[in-house]
């Protein structure tokens, strides 16, 4: 159905929960969301802010939103990274990010589709089980190539061939994207260094489908249930993820379908535990003044703030300096919520703003434990023409534990193995 067609407000209301309908009217219009919104800072339109979207959505539901403003609102709803900063600063604590996701779903169910960029990405995820439209058999290739290149202590077992109670789940980004594959290799190597008995799912590794939820695709519950059933049948004890998006998807979004979602941990949490158990030892000094970027899905949405910081600070020679906006107030890099698929230029500007923030405190590198944020921040350094280094948390650890698998060396080794 075209966006211009008349949609009854009751159809939109039917897709929202009672609580969300109350929230539409609970906004105090204090404008605090406007002061903090990282998207508004790049595109100063009132409708972008949480209070602007809440007001428009309320009018949409009431049937009093004009045609022109409806179009503005729909665009603004998707021009949002659903980072949740507005939720944290809202005096009423309206659960904004959940509301935006639910509103997107409600709009789709009412016949208003997502923007073209998101539709394309969603179609690829549903058809190929990854957003790149690549075949399944390419998924575990990073592990095979890394073993061939001598980057691992032993081959990474595939769960179907040799089951283990611990699963490493690199996710689509680190499995397929060549610039991120070193993160998967480093993760596997660090687990091997600690003597963890783990496996990967290989070709059977599913996409977590969290993007379906972020972009309001109605197929999410069914797809999530399928994956939850798969994990239940496997009987795994722990799933380690190295992507904050997968973490939010598997742990938070799957919670209502999968009671064992609590068994999903982020790599930074797992590494922290390994350090506490003295299973990993840091050998070489890595002098660096770094700052830490809290991924929204890990921090604000799941309250994982301390573990990655502890890991980072345990590296000898590393000095951690905090940016003015950190922890609950960390400024989004723009990679979440499907924003990049809709408006890459806004994502680049948001990441550039974050990079500049890191520069102002004298950091030489910005460290993040999320591969998606890593990619987003790299866009930011290009946009800001900055010399600031973007590092994944793994990078500092491998420099101190196993310096033969630094990002650059793994990238080059994988490229030469491939050729």
């Amino acid at each position: 159905m075209a966006r211009k067609e008349k949609i009854q407000g009751s159809k939109i209301a039917a897709g929202l929960t009672r609580r969300q309908l109350i929230e539409l009217n609970a906004c105090t219009r204090c404008a605090e969301c406007r002061a903090w919104c990282p998207v508004y800072a790049q595109d100063e339109r009132e409708v972008i802010t949480a209070r602007g979207k809440l007001d428009s959505l309320r009018r949409f539901v009431d049937g009093t939103l004009t045609e022109e403003k409806r179009e503005d609102f729909i665009n603004a709803l998707y021009e949002c990274s659903a980072c949740g900063q507005c939720h944290v600063v809202c005096p009423v604590r309206i659960k904004t990010h959940e509301l935006w996701e639910q509103a997107r779903l409600s709009l789709v169910n009412a016949g208003i589709p997502q923007p073209a960029g998101q539709i394309k990405e969603l179609a690829a995820i549903k058809e190929f089980n990854n957003p790149f439209g690549k075949p399944r058999n390419e998924r575990p290739r990073w592990a095979q190539m890394a073993w061939k290149a001598g980057l691992l202590k032993s081959p990474v077992p595939i769960w179907g061939e040799r089951p283990a109670s611990v699963i490493y789940f690199p996710g689509c980004m680190a499995s397929y994207e060549p610039s991120l594959q070193p993160i998967a290799v480093q993760s596997a190597r660090l687990l091997q260094e600690a003597g963890v008995d783990f496996a990967i799912l290989g070709e059977d590794e599913p996409c977590c489908m969290s993007k379906l939820r972020r972009m309001g695709d109605p197929a999410f519950p069914e797809e999530a249930r399928k994956r939850a059933d798969q994990f239940t049948l496997m009987g795994v004890d722990t799933i380690i993820v190295s992507c904050a998006g997968c973490y939010k998807g598997l742990r938070s979004d799957y919670r209502r379908f999968w009671p064992r979602a609590q068994k999903v941990v982020h790599l930074s949490q797992y590494l922290d535990q390994l350090f506490q158990e003295n299973r990993l030892s840091l050998k070489w000094k890595t002098p660096a003044v770094v700052t830490y970027h809290d991924p929204c899905h890990l921090g604000r949405h799941n309250q994982v703030y301390d573990e990655p910081r502890r890991v980072l600070q345990s590296v000898p020679g590393v000095k951690l300096v905090e940016m003015p906006r950190h922890r609950e107030f960390s400024c989004c890099c723009g990679m979440g919520g499907g924003l990049k698929a809709v408006s890459p230029e806004i994502q680049h500007k948001m990441a550039a703003a974050r990079v500049r923030e890191a520069e102002t405190i004298g950091a030489r590198a910005i460290v993040t434990p999320c591969q998606t944020c890593y990619l987003g921040l790299l866009n930011g350094t290009k946009e800001a023409s900055s010399s600031l280094k973007v590092l994944h948390l793994n990078e500092l650890l491998v420099r101190s534990i196993c310096p033969d698998v630094t990002h650059e060396s793994v990238k080059n080794a994988l490229a030469s193995t491939k050729s």
């Binding site: 609580r19 109350i22 929230e23 009217n25 609970a26 906004c27 105090t28 219009r29 204090c30 404008a31 605090e32 406007r34 002061a35 903090w36 508004y40 800072a41 944290v88 600063v89 005096p91 009423v92 604590r93 309206i94 659960k95 722990t238 609590q262 068994k263 941990v265 949490q269 797992y270 535990q273 799941n302 309250q303 994982v304 003015p324 906006r325 950190h326 922890r327 609950e328 107030f329 923030e357």
Partner: protein
Amino acid sequence: MRESTVCPSDSKTSSLIWLSEVFLQRQLFMMSFPRWIIHILIFYGFIGLSLLSIANWILNAAGYLTVSSTLPRFYLRPEGYLFVKIWGDSFGMILLLGLAMASIRRFMQQEARETSNQMDIILLVLLLSITLSGFALEGLRLAVMPAGISRYSYVGHFFSPPGRHALEQLRPWLTACWILHFSLVATLIAYVPHSKLMHSLLAPVIIGMNASEEHQRGDLYWPEKKKYREARSPRG
């Protein structure tokens, strides 16, 4: 593997959080002290006057129905009337002060001006008109009352026309002022469902839901004040 921090649900703590968020408006206090003062003055002024109106209505109804003759008589006649006057004037003054500060902020401060829309202005003007017309009505009433009573209306006194007047003399003014005040109040009540004032009814509900959830997660509701302020400094 260790689970992330999850505090057990505790109804006492959740209730305390709700009370501090709704009645002390802690979150607003952390956001901005001037805004907190303005909001708290308007909030308590409004609540105080609403309670007075409700009490008056009940006492009058009880008086008519002679349910309990002593209590209504005490408060509606000179012996206890001073409590009503002091209560009304105090909360009226609190409300007026809050509204005056809100007007200054809304019209003089650049950030507030930029974020204001028609609704903000309409509500502010409406609330100011209701408060001022209430005091004008009070002043007119004092002008036809014995001097002994009027001294308890320490704010309304300033709105009273000079000298003593007979009731008949001021009746048209009293009626007009009452109609104006009543109409403005009725307008406000009719406007509430279409305005941001709905938050006064619904925000406590959402805060209550969040208080228990966020306490269970052990995360957001008690961020350290200092950290919050430090983090907020770089805007946009």
